[in-house]
């Protein structure tokens, strides 16, 4: 008798998703499917649009992660028009991006990840949320998170209009400069962010390194997945969110390939399965080898831990120290421990905050030269950034008037979609044996996909921090045997 567990809805990707877990005849986990149940077709309805309008349209792909789409699109326009942004424009774009990284990473960390280990994975869901977290660590921390999110979003608003739908970004530059008065509060925000991120890291390390139970869980096989990793690195092979080359390492940590993002189509393949609207990304030259890990896999992961795994280090000094400490504690590189995505996420926040400081103090920031008008349309443009959740590609082609004739997008969570299936399967296997679903299964499945932050892990978890989950266990006739859900 095949039993089916449905977890619906779990998330948004380019829309919504659900998880289905199937049991075999012996009542063990046979397969797990992370399904994306929505499609909107941006790649088609952008045809005919003037290319320069694209950075204003694509943020609607995701209102939680709109800045990376806005910036990848703007960079695709640089490429399309064979133009380099002016130094001031580049600083302003990077300031926007760093502010986004801080607010997005912070919210994920405090509202979603932290309750798991501060209150413990088996704590009552009624407490295992931001409210419970604030009770435990004090209201100051909670207030500070809201304060920093708000101020970072003010920076985004200053540069790019609405934070949930940024509208700035032009080929060769930005639409608006920064004044010296604005620099002052930007600087203050950057300083506060660096300081508070260190507090957050301290909190995390005290709890994880100081609690054997949690550290054991991080290192547990159920939360380990051996895949390739992908991320952008700069010329010194340090983590870079905004630009660089794409580096891929194999499950042993050896370099598999480093390539110019313009060559993405040679390396990334999108497999189509009839049970999901999302295409499953894999390393094209290895071929599609299905949902397997370890030897023979062609799956790779993206996002915070992937970026740290592919790089030789962080680009800023404080973050670099944290990077070294993390890999020491995890037993070296690459780390396959999925729960370490959370740790990596905080280290990246520190780099973003430190980089915000650098930009805030750069005399060029308030320069007047914000546009390079030397545009030469070459009809193909590819832009790549590291979105908070992983590598993001925007590829546009146009006619001679700069009207869009072709769009191809590779988005972050799509690349983690297949690994998420495997992570869910492994975590569920620990808790479902002989058809018995052990207490706490829901929490563990949740913890297995939460590190990927598949776009559900956003600021909007403000009130409870819980992932909306419902598990229906059905027998082969579709009859409901048992329903598990949040109280």
């Amino acid at each position: 008798m095949t039993k089916k567990l449905t977890i619906n809805p779990i998330t948004r990707l380019e829309g919504h998703g659900k998880i289905e877990i199937f049991l075999d005849d012996n009542g063990g986990v046979k397969d797990a499917y992370f399904q994306v149940v929505e499609l909107r077709g941006f790649e088609r309805f952008c045809l005919g649009r003037p290319a320069e309008e694209m950075p204003r349209i694509v943020p609607n792909i995701c209102g939680v992660c709109p800045s990376p789409h806005n910036l990848a699109s703007t960079k695709a326009l640089d490429d399309l028009y064979s133009v380099e942004p002016t130094p001031t424009a580049k600083l302003i774009r990077q300031l926007h991006f760093n502010a986004f990284y801080v607010e997005d990473h912070f919210i994920h960390f405090f509202f979603l990840s932290a309750p798991d280990f501060v209150l413990g994975p088996d704590a009552d869901p009624a407490d295992r949320n931001i409210v419970g977290l604030i009770k435990k660590v004090g209201p100051d921390v909670g207030g500070k998170v809201i304060d920093i999110r708000k101020r970072c979003r003010e920076i985004i608003k200053l540069i790019a209009s609405k934070p949930a739908h940024p509208e700035g970004g032009l080929p060769g530059g930005v639409s608006r400069g920064i004044t010296s008065e604005e620099r002052e509060w930007i600087k203050e925000t950057a300083d506060d962010t660096v300081q508070f991120t260190q507090v957050a890291l301290g909190l995390f390390k005290d709890l994880v390194l100081g609690n054997k139970k949690y550290l054991d869980m991080v290192m547990n096989e159920a939360y380990k997945l051996q895949t390739y990793y992908m991320g952008l690195v700069d010329e010194n092979r340090k983590v870079n969110f905004y630009e660089g080359k794409i580096r891929v390492v194999d499950p042993k940590g050896k370099e598999y390939v480093t390539f110019d993002p313009r060559k993405y189509a040679d390396h990334m393949g999108e497999w189509v399965e009839p049970w999901t609207y999302v295409r499953l990304t894999h390393l094209r030259k290895l071929g599609w080898n299905g949902l397997i890990e370890g030897e023979g896999t062609s799956l790779y992961r993206v996002g915070p831990l992937a970026r740290l795994n592919v790089a030789d280090g962080m680009a800023t000094p404080l973050a670099q120290k944290e990077y070294e400490q993390m890999f020491d504690a995890l037993g070296g590189k690459p780390s396959h421990h999925t729960l370490a995505f959370h740790w990596a996420r905080l280290i990246e926040t520190l780099q973003a905050a430190e980089d915000m400081q650098r930009i805030a103090n750069d005399p060029m920031l308030t320069g007047k030269d914000i546009r390079n008008m030397n545009l030469k349309l070459k009809k193909v443009g590819i832009g790549c950034v590291e979105a908070a959740r992983g590598t993001l590609i925007h590829h546009y082609e146009t006619d001679g008037q700069g009207l869009i004739t072709k769009v191809n997008l590779i988005v972050a969570t799509q690349q983690n979609a297949a690994p998420i299936c495997l992570s869910v399967k492994k975590a569920a296997s620990e808790y479902i044996k002989n058809g018995e679903v052990k207490e706490g299964m829901l929490n563990r499945v949740e913890m297995a996909f939460r590190p990927y932050d598949p776009c559900l892990a956003c600021a909007t978890h403000a009130l409870s921090g819980e992932t909306p989950l419902e598990v229906i266990i059905r027998d082969s006739t579709g009859e409901t045997v048992k329903t598990l859900k949040r109280p």
Partner: protein, 327 residues
């Protein structure tokens, strides 16, 4: 039923930006939670779908729905919430007019599927798979909701009581809307909970607008360095201000980028595009028909400029590209 009024906040075919916008009311959100009983907010709270089903019809005081309707799940959810709610607010451009994903109505479902699952340069699909509403995989039956031929704004699926436009709606209007419900100070049903004026009427740059704009050329935003204090239209740059409702806070104008119409048409106007065309025609400074044509030809993507957020709610509704091109 006694106690706090029940509120549901739900997304259909949206991007999550509207939910972020609700969180962006910052401290006020805590007050909202105090005075309302939030019974549903899938992205923020426990999802209690069946709890909604079990409620009496009309038990929810207010449902705030963002996103458009593009598949069977979304339609079902919209109808369920309508049944259970006294008031429904269409929240954000997608719910009000279809939003930017409504531009997809220019394409068929087949066109979208063929590209996404067959023709895109990175697709690897030797088995010629397409997502199916029901499929057996390795002995397991998996289902997906049906993807519709077109995008619908909310009021083409259910009755809508109020509209709160924007992509996303700004914090002040969101707070006002919640307060109006709480205090029972709502305008007549069918109203838009935003100012009635056009963006031009509140725009700072209006002061610099010449009494009569006369443009001889239309410039695209990448072609010029826009003056930061002068009316965009006076600079020959398309700005949807004359035909767009105000209330957004002019955040795009503030970063020196012209309006693209996310607030939809001004009060009393059904079709923003038609209104804009007449506004535009009146400022073209040319006598000869061929000159008018030369200038207007620079508006090289009428649909994308005039109906960026509103194709499904406009006169175009679901006119395919081939039909539009023939016109």
């Amino acid at each position: 039923m006694a106690g706090k009024p029940k509120v549901a906040i739900c997304w259909l075919g949206g991007c999550g930006g509207c939910d972020e916008a609700v969180v962006d009311i910052n401290e006020v959100i805590l007050r909202v939670v105090e005075v309302f009983d939030i019974v549903l907010w899938p992205v923020a709270l426990d999802f209690k779908y069946d709890r909604i089903e079990r409620m009496d019809d009309g038990a929810i005081a207010l449902s705030v729905i963002n996103g458009n309707v593009r598949n069977a799940d979304q339609e079902e959810m919209a109808k369920l919430l309508r049944r259970k709610s006294q008031l429904v607010v269409a929240f954000g451009a997608c719910a009000c007019f279809g939003g930017t994903p409504g531009l997809a109505n220019l394409r068929t479902k087949k066109d979208i599927f063929d590209w996404v699952y067959r023709d895109a340069p990175t697709v690897v699909n030797p088995e010629k798979n397409y997502p199916k509403t029901k499929v057996s995989s390795n002995g397991a039956v998996l289902t997906l909701p049906e993807f519709y031929e077109q995008v619908y704004p909310l009021n083409q699926i259910i009755d809508v009581d109020y509209y709160l436009p924007g992509c996303p709606p700004p914090p002040d209007l969101i707070v006002n809307a919640f307060m109006a419900v709480l205090e029972g100070k709502l305008p007549p049903r069918g109203s838009t909970l935003a100012p009635h004026k056009a963006l031009c009427d509140t725009c700072e740059r209006n002061k610099t607008k010449p009494s009569r704009i006369a443009i001889r050329d239309i410039k695209r935003i990448h072609e010029v360095e826009a003056q930061s204090n002068t009316c965009f239209l006076a600079q020959g740059i398309l700005c949807m201000g004359p035909a767009t409702r105000t209330g957004c806070g002019e955040t795009c104008i503030n970063i020196n980028i012209p309006c693209r119409g996310c607030f939809g048409p001004v009060e009393g106007v059904k079709d923003a595009g038609a209104k804009y065309i007449s506004a535009l025609a009146s400022i073209i400074d040319a006598e000869e028909e061929k000159d008018v044509k030369r200038i207007l030809d620079k508006v090289n993507d009428e649909v994308g400029y005039l109906y960026r957020f509103s194709v499904p709610a406009s006169i175009l509704r679901k006119r395919r590209v081939s039909e539009v091109e023939e016109q």
